[in-house]
Amino acid sequence: MTTLTGPSATRRLILQGAASVALLGLGNLPFGAAPARAAANDKYPEEAFKQKSEADAIKALYGKTAEPSDKVKLDAPEIAENGGVVPISVATTLDKVTSISFFVAENPSALAASYRIPEGTIPAVANRLKMAKTTNVVAIVEADGKLYSATKEVKVTVGGCGG
């Protein structure tokens, strides 16, 4: 399975038989080489997925900034049962929505998923994301050319990087 990297002696003592999920310090790892592109003709936002910080990822994806809005309803657990599988969903009452994106602030690269919402599709998405540690999840809704966001902190005690 996965290797256990670097828990200190103290932590080992405190574990008390808890599971040996690897808690990799992902934030410190250098970003890997760009993966080979699958198809050339789609609009997969490769650059945005490469950005580490949320701000850079938003800029690369949209080229503008978002403002918080209470019309964006972000649903995520208080404490993730496992960082590897965190159910997160968003819905909005905004009109003319063209895309919805999810960012996990302190993941190695912040952009997790971006969904294109064609006309006729309801602006609501549910998905399951990995979270390396406790951090903010940000949902951004693009509506009528503007960006609106909602943010929620999700506590992660077992990191989602063990697989």
Binding site: R12, L13, G17, A18, A19, P77, A80, E81, N82, G84
Partner: protein, 287 residues
């Protein structure tokens, strides 16, 4: 390194000293009484968690925590064990090279019978689990046995559990001193402390269900096997009852026994018997 070990050693001896000081009740030549044991076992959990519906205990930690229950219900909309279940269904229907199928090895063609496993085989004089019966079926038909802990075995048992969902666990203890001995041995295994952490199964799953060990919310022992096999997010995959026992042992820093060792078969017998009446909920999804 050295200090750490000593501390843990100290922790062990201290725990043992504490145990000696609190002086366990002296138990004189107990009669094995599974019916009374099961009743006491269920009552303990029903009283400890008065708000949890009895049939909900089979949902493990999700019966004890609202936030987690919501995450679970979301997952159950399209459960992560779905692929294993489909694979199991297909495997179950696929004939062996000799033309026979799993259905030929089991009562009622193997459908809706999960609640009767494990059972005590009076011919063999031992407990036979569903996993064991599946591999024996394979071997009797000239096929190689599967690993007991995951993959094909998990898929097959997932399908068999699915066809038995909602049926109350129904484990019998025949009037055979060896069956009673197996039950008693399973009980002993369940309560015996082991590993460097000096934990028994009961330390976590009787004394602390609903509480967190670091991030995990512990499942109550009552009904824990009704949900097997399970997809654990932590494993990123499926695991059988055997896998659960083996990983529990390692987590207490005890070297696990081989899957389907007599002790594991007996503890499965004990734990299943004391959950009699609670519904089969497998395959399950767990953190």
């Amino acid at each position: 390194m050295k200090a750490r070990t000593s501390i843990l050693l100290g922790s062990l001896s201290a725990a043992l000293v504490a145990l000696a000081l609190t002086s366990p009740r002296v138990v004189a030549a107990d009669k094995v009484d599974p019916v009374a044991d099961a009743k006491a076992f269920q009552n303990f959990f029903f009283q400890k968690f008065p708000t949890v519906k009895h049939e909900d205990f089979v949902n493990g930690p999700y019966s004890m925590n609202e936030d987690m229950k919501r995450q679970w219900q979301e997952k159950e909309e399209f459960p992560p064990y779905e692929f294993a279940l489909d694979a199991g269904k297909e495997m179950f229907a696929t004939p062996f090279k000799n033309g026979k199928t799993y259905a030929d090895c089991f009562p009622n063609g193997g459908i809706g019978i999960r609640q009767n496993y494990p059972y005590f085989d009076e011919k063999e004089g031992k407990v036979v689990t569903l996993e064991l019966a599946l591999n024996r079926c394979r071997e009797a038909n000239g096929e190689a046995p599967y690993s007991y802990v995951k993959d094909e075995m998990a898929s097959l048992t997932a399908y068999m559990a699915f066809t038995s969902r909602g049926k109350p666990m129904d484990i019998k203890i025949p009037d055979d001193p060896r069956a009673l001995a197996a039950f008693e041995n399973g009980k002993r295994y369940f309560y015996t402390r082991r590993g460097q952490l000096n934990f028994s199964c009961a330390s976590c799953h009787v004394q602390s269900p609903g509480e967190r060990i670091r991030a995990e919310i512990l499942a109550p022992a009552l009904g824990i096997l009704n949900a097997m096999p399970i997809y654990r997010s932590e494993w990123s995959g499926m695991g059988t009852t055997s896998r659960r026992f083996v990983t529990c042992n390692s987590q207490t820093r005890a070297v696990p026994l081989e899957p389907q060792a007599d002790e594991y078969r007996d503890v499965e017998y004990f734990l299943s018997y004391v959950a009699n009446g609670l519904p089969i909920s497998g395959p399950g999804a767990r953190p």
